[in-house]
């Protein structure tokens, strides 16, 4: 069972490594969006410190969205997806593998980059640590929920915009608890509660979302 997940992860990572420009452009999108905010609202450190968690998280949501349409589209175009659906393994596990691979190339780099951007917003060391942890914990949920949206909009016109319309409302809990964790650290309340809820969301999303996405894929492939 785990073999198929590992095989799909390995395959998707290999494909992603051959097209590194895609990964890098999503990361630069993240950097640019975050850097635009101080230009828009002014350089006062107090204000920036207050806005940092929300700005970084919203930028992370948008950067994750950016790479979602390609989650299934390339495999759909060359027929691989139909072969995967015909394989004897449950399609949900295949989707889980693809979701994990998507997280490794989109969520993980965001988490590694976030503390550097957090420095620009004058966040304290504690807050930077929690920010990194929260993005690490929360982005798998984004990939999982996003997988459902990507499967539902597979092959539709205007898929990208539609995808954000479907998925962004479902991202709200992750945004609230992710930004809340950093906020709670800044105000001295402690981030444990927020981080626990974030972890719960991630486990729920990774456990259930691939199956919903698999159902959506089967509808799209009919």
């Amino acid at each position: 069972m785990l073999k198929i997940v590992a095989a799909v992860i390995g395959r998707d990572l290999k494909l992603a490594m051959r097209r590194q420009a895609d990964i890098v452009s999503a990361l630069f999108f993240f950097v640019i969006v975050v850097s635009l905010f101080p230009l828009g609202i002014g350089p006062e450190p107090d204000l920036l410190r207050k806005l940092a968690p929300g700005v970084l998280w919203v930028a992370a949501l948008l950067a994750t969205m950016l790479s979602l349409p390609r989650l299934f589209a390339d495999d759909h175009r060359d027929g691989t997806l139909e072969q995967l659906a015909l394989a004897p393994h449950p399609l949900g596990l295949v989707v889980l593998g693809k979701v994990v691979a998507h997280w490794l190339v989109s969520g993980l780099p965001l988490a590694l980059l976030a503390p550097v951007l957090g420095l620009q917003f004058d966040l304290s060391a504690d807050a930077l640590l929690v920010l990194t942890g929260a993005i690490l914990l929360g982005t798998p949920a984004l990939s999982g929920i996003g997988g459902i949206g990507a499967a539902l909009t597979l092959g539709l016109r205007g898929g990208g915009v539609l995808l954000s319309l479907l998925v962004l409302p479902l991202y709200i809990p992750v945004l609230i608890f992710g930004a809340g964790a950093v906020d709670a650290t800044v105000t001295g309340l402690g981030p444990e509660a927020h981080l626990s809820l974030l972890a719960a969301l991630t486990f729920a999303a990774l456990g259930f979302a691939p199956w919903a996405a698999a159902a959506a894929l089967k509808i799209a492939l009919e």
Binding site: T153, G158, L165, P169, P173, F177, L197, I219, A220, E222
Partner: protein, 249 residues
Amino acid sequence: MNARFHLYHYASPATFYPLAGKLIPVFAALAVVFGLAGLYLGLLVAPTDFQQGEGYRIIFIHVPASWMSMFIYLVMAFWAAIGLAFNTRLSGMMATALAPTGALMAFLSLWTGALWGKPMWGAWWVWDARLTSELILLFLYIGFIALQSAIDDPRRADKAGGVLLLVGVVNVPVIYFSVKWWNTLHQGASVSLTQSPSMATTMLWGMLLMALCFWMYSIAVALMRVRTILLERERHTEWVKEMLAGETK
């Protein structure tokens, strides 16, 4: 009703279409009756609120609209589940037909809430838990409508919409509680099943009658919409051709 009547009799579009036609006037009439009674109680009989003056009377639109916006989403999810489980055509059409009414109710609830909030709280909009989750509910409705209109094949549109509705309905409590823990300012629920109501009985009756009115209106409008969807999708079948031929004679 013959002896062989069974539950799935009206699951067929050909039998459901005339039934819906007969039910629409009933529900429309009920909506008018409940609406008139509710408005009479709400606007003329119910006492003036000692804190909020006459302004509170928007509650007779606001609360029923909010209830219906949530209830319709649940009903849509119910039809979506039935449609995905039993592969019935009519279920998907019901969900499609309900969506615009649900979105309208969510919008009405936000709009009347803003009109009510301005004199009472001094702000058109506050980022309170219930307002925010109602706004997100409106987004979910719009997402559903947008997804369905982007798919040309009606069967795929029904199924994809169904998956989205079920995902949404699982998420609604999560969203609600996350937003609730995030911030809360809205007054507590006005009506609760466990406590005795905190408002005058006439107000409560007015509100319940208005809720019934909105409910009947939603059913009537959804049935009208489902009839047109039925005709559009089944236009190549014999029964539609026969019926249309009969009507034009």
